[in-house]
């Protein structure tokens, strides 16, 4: 288990560094996918089985798909997608110093922390998933729908706000009406795109 933790830690850090150093956003998404997979394995090792599955479904399935769709949308020829000027050489040195100092603070805090003694309150041993075993789906669901029902309902409200906000932000302001003028604009855009493609 210890060896597995260290291998996972190395993979997590390596994939995170790949995410922030990749030149193309698609490569970043791939790195983030690997990161989330390793993180899900780590969650399994911490016997948080439900959260591990949710990590795979929600993050790797939904959120990363959203990123991929947005990248595909933005780079679909209509709107050229460039990486933009890279500011890394200019501010890398001070940023690394700041981050090193902050990490030093964290290391100091961890070293000063008295060793945590886990309270070994009786957890029944048994197959995972059954009630009474720590981290089982049954216990998670029970805790979510009894003690934490109000926060759960509030997350539903937050998601609804997000949906309404996204529709307001990115939805069409004017409903699509196929007019002659609109058709001419589309035709002009397509001609320009063909000319651009021919130049390249």
């Amino acid at each position: 288990m210890t060896v597995a933790f260290w291998i996972l830690a190395m993979l997590l850090i390596a994939s995170a560094i790949f995410v922030i150093t990749a030149q193309k956003p698609v490569h970043s998404v791939a790195g983030l996918l690997a990161h989330f997979l390793f993180l899900a394995i780590t969650y399994f090792m911490l016997s948080a089985e439900f959260l591990a599955v949710i990590q795979l479904i929600v993050y790797s399935g939904a959120i990363l798909m959203l990123f991929v769709f947005v990248i595909a949308l933005l780079s679909s020829g209509v709107m050229p997608f460039s990486a933009g000027p890279d500011r890394l050489p200019k501010i890398a040195a001070p940023a690394i110093v700041v981050i090193a100092v902050l990490l030093g603070f964290v290391a100091y805090a961890v070293s000063r922390e008295p060793a945590v003694t886990p309270t070994l309150r009786g957890i029944a041993s048994g197959p995972v998933g059954t009630a009474g075993v720590f981290g089982s789906v049954a216990d998670f669901g029970h805790a979510l729908f009894t003690l934490n029902l109000l926060p759960f309902e509030i997350t539903a409200f937050i998601l609804m706000v997000a949906v309404v906000g996204v529709i307001l932000l990115a939805g069409d302001q004017v409903p699509y009406v196929p007019t002659r003028r609109r058709a001419r604009l589309v035709e002009r855009d397509m001609r320009e795109a063909i000319v651009r493609a021919g130049e390249e």
Partner: protein, 106 residues
């Protein structure tokens, strides 16, 4: 090894989580591509979640699991709205440098 004990000491999880968090901070500070900045923010959410789950495991209390679940929900909402803003900004101007987008600067 006792079955109830953590595989490694809790401090290792704290250190791993803070390293990933600061990699995310570095991504937000260093990169100027809004999509990669959003991904770095996802890295930071996940570092915090890892810490929640590690402490939940150490203290055998699944309140941390509940909180991590709520964090994932809020992160999903944040990603959706962030990406909508990115799409909106890119629709009006074909420019991907966030330094250029200073419309709300006083």
């Amino acid at each position: 090894m006792h079955e109830n004990l953590l595989p490694v000491a809790l401090g290792n999880y704290v250190a791993l989580s803070s390293v990933i968090f600061f990699i995310g901070v570095a991504g937000v500070v260093l990169r100027r591509n809004p999509l990669i900045m959003l991904m770095s923010i996802e890295l930071m959410w996940n570092a915090a979640n890892l810490l929640f789950l590690a402490f939940a495991r150490a203290w055998l209390n699944n309140a941390g699991h509940i909180f991590a679940f709520l964090v994932i929900t809020v992160a999903a909402a944040e990603a959706a709205i962030g990406l909508a803003i990115v799409v909106l900004v890119f629709r009006s101007r074909a420019n991907v440098d966030v330094d250029e987008i200073a419309l709300m600067k006083g």
